[in-house]
Symmetry: C2
Subunit: 138 residues, 2 copies
């Protein structure tokens, strides 16, 4: 959160609220999900505001958009560790972030063999997390 101030952005109540919501769950949340969760708490944020806050958070690497769900999660890794990957459990919805520099580099090299110059990676696995896998197989 201090990163906001450090970059010259203001530390506002809506921004704190959205971050708190993201921190309070391991699932990905759409802008309207966030609005609904806040409403339950008796709070109101305009959806436009939420969109703009999420945009900002993504630019600052405080949050990520998970493409396969369309929602957002709080970023849990620093930016030194290569590109960020996500495992999305389609059972419980939990999103876990991880990174693997080697995999990332292999992928870049592979693409470059085909003449392509990668600037950004989008890597998501969907499947079952350890918990849900255990439950399902018994």
């Amino acid at each position: 959160m201090q990163i906001l101030q450090a970059q010259g952005y203001r530390l506002t109540k809506p921004r704190k609220q959205v971050l708190e919501i993201l921190e309070g769950t391991r699932e990905s949340l759409s802008p309207y999900d966030i609005q609904r969760l806040l409403r339950v708490q008796g709070e109101h944020l305009n959806h436009v505001t939420i969109y703009r806050i999420l945009d900002l958070f993504c630019r600052l690497n405080l949050a990520h958009k998970v493409m396969s769900t369309g929602g957002f999660v709080k970023c849990s890794l620093g930016s030194e560790e290569g590109c960020h990957r996500f495992m999305v459990c389609h059972q419980c919805g939990t999103v876990r972030e991880f990174a693997d520099k080697e995999l990332c580099q292999e992928e870049n090299e592979f693409a470059q063999h085909l003449g392509f110059h990668t600037e950004y990676h989008l890597c998501e696995s969907s499947g079952l997390c350890a918990n849900c896998y255990r439950k399902q197989t018994g």
Copy 2:
């Protein structure tokens, strides 16, 4: 296209039209993009129909949804080659499909180390294709 008949689906004019549109471009197209392109040709398809056709095509692996653009491309690979990956040029919009079994497997193994059981991969690189890279760097 014969795969439709083979699977018991009918070979209809709208389906032919959508496939023809997808075959005619290397960029990813949203359902409404496709509708607009058809309108230019003096043809009309209801957007609901297009949504349903694209759903079907994706189920049959005739098309893919490119998550980073939200559009669809015609599938250019068979299903034996592991998970399908995409390189999206953010300059010209061209989408190229490729596959790499080894990468795929490494990724699965990595995830499994973390207790996750992968069922589906989403892998897209965005950057510059060979053409646009050459133009840009001169």
